[in-house]
Symmetry: C2
Subunit: 221 residues, 2 copies
């Protein structure tokens, strides 16, 4: 039982700057919780059993997450590599009005940075999300968290581009990126990682570019 978080942290779940060790513990809790959920179902394990897997005390657990449900869904900051958001925001070309011509390229780079950040975690996360729909508690939380995260992402891009978050093109792009991530992770996992996640992701993007660029009306009609 290592990692007693309370020593160096007053409000751990809110703190933006955790020590590396604490960040690792937090991430480890979420991963183990997801693996246990995938294996035994959300109600198939207790917080105590989760703590045993992680190698922490119950008290330490509650320093990181208020509930088991929070642990399974994880901490927002653990999804994104440090500085990735800032890099994305700074990469808009100067002297442009309206959407950047590099928006798609910058988003692809941003998403790939996240996808390749931790290729190992992809498999356990995938296992977890593939059982969510069977668990009413998880499903309900996901239906809340999913749109919230999509809205955050939308706001981020809208802010960078200086447009409203309900800009049809920005909305389509966010939605499409989300789709490409989910599908490429599915494919990556079912292929047992034979191809890199980057290759699989780019295949979805280019295939979509191809079909969506076709004409909207038929010449013969």
């Amino acid at each position: 039982m290592e990692n007693s978080a309370k020593d160096d942290l007053s409000a751990p779940t809110k703190g933006a700057h955790l020590s590396t060790r604490m960040q690792k513990t937090r991430l480890s809790i979420t991963r183990q919780a997801r693996e246990l959920t995938a294996e035994h179902g959300y109600n198939g394990f207790t917080v105590e059993q989760l703590c045993e897997h992680v190698g922490i005390s119950r008290r330490t657990f509650f320093n990181y997450f208020p509930t088991k449900l929070d642990a399974v869904f994880g901490h927002d900051a653990d999804d994104i590599p440090e500085g990735a958001v800032e890099r994305f925001m700074a990469s808009r070309p100067v002297g442009i009005t309206g959407l950047s011509p590099t928006l798609l390229a910058d988003l692809v780079a941003f998403v790939l940075e996240q996808l390749t950040f931790d290729e190992q975690a992809i498999v356990s996360t995938h296992g977890f999300f593939s059982v969510v729909h069977r668990e009413p508690e998880l499903l309900q939380r996901m239906m809340q968290v999913g749109p919230e995260k999509e809205a955050e992402f939308l706001n981020l891009i809208a802010t960078r581009e200086g447009v409203q978050p309900d800009h049809p093109g920005v909305m389509a792009l966010v939605h499409f990126m989300h789709f490409a991530v989910i599908k490429s992770v599915d494919r990556y996992v079912s292929d047992s990682g034979q191809r890199s996640i980057t290759d699989v992701f780019m295949e979805y993007i280019t295939a979509a570019q191809d079909v969506i660029s076709h004409p909207l009306t038929r010449n013969d009609s």
Copy 2:
């Protein structure tokens, strides 16, 4: 209390060919059920109250739908104008290998046929779907039905195009059409129908074409 369905039908919920009157009754049940759900919540009304709104007997109700949940979700055949699927399937150009160059145009025509089929129904359906996430029973059914319908649509296109249903381009296209329908219905309803659903839908499609056609990598990187 009109419409006693049992007289002219042995297995009504399975029958592909209902009389026009019966089809109207079935559609009317679903619409009223959705309106009641939007207004009072799924558990805020009984089958008896639903029957009263439609003007049918309880017995007639069960000739159309086995449960209240089935009534709310409605009958598949009521979503699509007659012959629309057949027209879509027949519109692939001859002598083509791989994806039709008219696929996007044919899909847009197919979706618009559905969207403009019954502009009145859009508002009540929208009201219903906007409360689904608050109702565990509805949410669970939707999580099952949604992917099933998406898979059917995917199979339809894959069959027409002679490709596998997991073709990345076809998947992206189906997903994107789904997105454009949901968003344009949202916008159409919140604008109180000031613009036609066709205009709103086409705005999403063209905006998406615009952003997704941008280059995938930056020239400067």
